[in-house]
Amino acid sequence: MDYQVVIGLEVHVQLKTKSKAFCSCSTEFGLAPNTSVCPVCLGLPGSLPVLNRSALEFAIKVSLALNCQIQRYIRFDRKNYFYPDLPKNYQISQYALPIGKEGFLEIEPQEGIKNRIGIKRVHLEEDAGKLIHTQDYSLVDFNRAGIPLLEIVSYPEISSPDLAYEYLITLKELLSYLDVSDCDMEKGSLRCDANISLKKKEAKELGVKVELKNMNSFKAVKDALSYEVKRQAKILKENRSVIQETRLWDPKEGRTISMRTKEEAQDYRYFPDPDLVPFVLDEEIIERIKESLPVLPHTVREKLKRDFGLTFEQAKFIASEKKLAEYFQSCMEFYPQVKSVYKWLAGPLMAEINERKIDWKDLKISPQEFIGLIKLVDEKRVTQLKAKEILKKMFTLGKSYLSIIEEEGVSQISDLAYLKGIVKEVIEANPKVISDYKEGKTNALMFLVGQVMKKTNKNADPKIVQELLKESIEKS
């Protein structure tokens, strides 16, 4: 394509403070409508805001993690516009003096290919309520009004829908590490608007910018942007002009639709909010918060590659969640066998976690426990299959692997003489299956292996059993 794609992303993140930005109502999700409200977040006449300290600290945390310059003197401004989900018909936001500026987020979509996306600004504001539209009227619920939001605006330095997707994944990962938000697009704790333009490679100026809204997942963002690229390219190819407008993503139809109303440029009449005092962020506050930052994902990835020899993809996977990375590293401390630990973690353990929809932070099986089980397999005292079963039981029964083993009398049987005896028993009990096998039906062999495993309570190594069966059958 002759065109360069220029994408900027504006992400709104709900901060998971316990109380709202300017009042002490709970931020809990899913409460009955208009039950988590007070005069302040309802904007009742006479009410006044007071800033939640944690919201500010979370905002500073994020700004630092995004390599921003922290503004030493910040204040809040009123963004004035009328909408029913905005109780005061103005939003307390930041315009002139935001918390963070001129930062960057580095994304690495493939090994060795790093893209640094500039972050223009990070600022704090309050969320609006929720509107439910019906045919004839709209319903307003103010529970969400006043929840602290962080707005993260990137420079238009993202050059493809795939990279936009990668940006969002990386950002979400970072925010999860900082534990400042649930980052759940379905619940609305992370929202994303995009703007996109195309320009000819030689052109100095950027093309006409189109704003995209209503994308409810990272995939939707990627799809919407991909669609726009095609749509705009087609227009430009036909020597027409792209109209500067806001378009909504329609996931059902798989396309963007122009917003019908004529978009008049909104005059928000920003001015400093006289109800809130300015905030001075001195060295002490910033240093303290800097020190409280966890090791960030990209550093963890490098460490995993360096210290444990993980591949790019493996490191990416392990570092994708802070608790997972911690778990892995703990396991490695107890049992530095990278291949085993990785295999069991990324495989069976991950499978159990996904199936049960557990959070890594809620995992009750300690690294020591997990390692204990892996060791048994490596020492061939338990078969892999059996170990997977034990793992399942560790989840469902909440017991340690040792007690499970004791109760079931499990240990891998490698006593060949004993095994041979069982194999003989099974062969004698299944003459038809033997003839099936001799006729070439390989399923028959598996059936026989299953029978042996049953008799040995799955404590035999299936590979060995298979060999023994083949041997015996050939002989007979």
Binding site: G43, P45, G46, L48, F82, L276
Partner: protein, 475 residues
């Protein structure tokens, strides 16, 4: 003795000595209101029969405070004398209300009249019609706390709360011959004060004499964690040093307040007051506040800008008046067209204009800078003076209807009071005489930030050496 004519201090003493019961006081007030309020219109949404049984407890022994209609009271309508807040019953008490209740005071069941949303200097902009000056019913009470001032002057209230954004306590106090104090910005919590201009609004006492003023100030002052602009200062006892002498105090007379346009009779009263104070040992000195003439312009830019934003919430969605319409924008527009009075619309439009893109720098930003200059003027003069003395208003009360058709003329009448709000400093108006027509004249004292004790002391000394506070209108 008609109990309603006494001061709070006197009544508290009688209650403490069990010479009088709180029910008697309430009855006296009720009778007075029944007798004359149809002429004064100090109270709004009055009902013939009302149940009001305050408990005689605490410092105030149940004494009722009359409250301006823009201060929220839990369970009692608070409508800012505007149609758009028709029927609004706040579900919470303003902090000052809580404090009054904590000290054993009660809240009078009717709110006092005001210019709608505090937009006005005459109380003629009220949805409930103007209040009438108890000294001459054809004249305005001043505004916007006209109802509170009139009620106190006419002994329909023992004491009252008003609010002051550009002079709305002091000017009606001076027009009605009572005491009105605008505390330092941040001294009294604004939580529960329905905002007009957030960086200028203050709640303050309107009382029959200086002692009552200090008493009520004691009760309503103090840090409030619900108000980010509330100052964390120890609340002193403002009644303690009232009667200490004022020998050697230096009081400045800003020359910009004594120019053409100052009513001759007002000037005479002020000159006489200066003589009284001189005899009490005060040294006077001419000073200059060079940016005084810009105060009106600065005020009407900043105050209306903040007001335009503060009043955006009145849209018919959650409470108050709503004009039904087929779609949202129409509902907003028609509700606000019908719900707001003329002055409110004018100020909202002006405020929107000065914040609009293309005008923000030339108007709002510029006004903020001139505000800095005005504050600096005061900082300078306070280096050499303990406080300043000026007339409260260039004229005494004017006739109802006289200025209402000319908004600019009305705005200019605030020239002497506006600067104190812009600078955030405390200011008090006390009666200092009468015109030949029998209209009260007020004297204003302006103090350094948080120097209420000092200006109250000067005011008290003056008051105790004059008879103005003892005079009552003939009603």
């Amino acid at each position: 003795m008609e109990l309603n004519r006494l001061t709070a201090k006197e009544l508290i003493k009688l209650l403490a000595e069990a010479k009088v019961k709180i029910e008697d006081i309430v009855l006296a007030l009720k009778e007075r209101i029944d007798k004359i309020d149809h002429k004064i219109n100090a109270y709004v949404r009055k009902e013939k029969d009302f149940e009001f049984f305050p408990k005689p407890q605490g410092l105030l022994k149940g004494l009722p405070v009359s409250v301006k209609d823009n201060i929220t009271t839990d369970g009692l309508n608070t409508e800012c004398c505007s149609k758009i807040l028709e029927g609004f019953i706040p579900p919470y008490d303003a902090t000052v209300i809580k404090k009054i209740k904590e000290k054993g005071g009660s809240i009078f069941p009717f709110k006092t009249n005001m210019d709608e949303f505090a937009f006005g200097s005459s109380c003629e902009n009220s949805y409930f019609g103007p209040s009438h000056n108890p000294w001459n019913l054809e004249y305005v009470t001043g505004g916007s706390s006209g109802g509170s001032a009139a009620a106190v002057a006419a002994d329909e209230a023992i004491f009252a709360l008003g609010t002051d954004t550009g002079g709305s306590i002091r000017q009606p106090a001076s027009f009605c011959g009572v005491v009105g104090l605008k505390p330092t910005y941040g001294r009294v919590s604004r939580f529960g004060l329905i905002a007009f201009a957030s960086s200028l609004d203050v709640i303050g006492p309107i009382t029959k004499d200086v002692y009552d003023c200090a008493l009520l100030l004691n009760i309503i002052s103090g840090y409030d964690p619900s108000d980010s602009t509330s100052v964390n200062l120890e609340v002193e006892d403002f009644t303690k040093d009232l009667d200490k002498d004022i020998k050697g105090l230096k009081i400045g007379l800003p020359k910009e307040y004594f120019v053409e346009g100052l009513d001759k009779e007002v000037k005479t009263s002020i000159d006489e007051a200066v003589e009284v104070l001189k005899k009490l040992g005060v040294e006077f000195k001419e000073v200059s506040l060079p940016h005084t003439k810009y105060a009106v312009a600065v005020y009407y830019i900043i105050a209306t800008a903040e007001a335009s934003s503060n009043l955006a919430r009145f849209d018919g969605v959650q409470y108050g008046f709503r004009e039904n319409a087929s779609n949202l924008i129409e509902m907003y527009k028609k509700t606000r067209q019908k719900g707001f009075g003329q002055e409110a619309k004018r100020r909202i439009l002006l405020g929107t204009f000065v914040l609009a893109e293309g005008y923000y720098e030339a108007y709002y930003l510029r006004a903020q800078k001139v505000r800095t200059l005005i504050k600096k003027d005061f900082d300078e003069v306070f280096k050499e003076c303990d406080c300043l003395l000026t007339p409260t208003s260039p004229t005494p009360a004017f006739k109802i209807g006289e200025k209402i058709k000319d908004p600019l003329k009305m705005y200019l009448s605030d020239i002497f009071t506006l600067s104190a709000n812009l600078a955030g400093i405390p200011a008090i108006s006390i009666p200092c005489g009468f015109t030949k027509k029998g209209l009260p004249v007020g004297l204003q004292l302006l103090g350094k930030p948080f120097s209420e004790s000092l200006i109250l002391r000067v005011a008290y000394n003056y008051e105790q050496n004059t008879v103005w506070h003892k005079m009552k209108p003939k009603l």
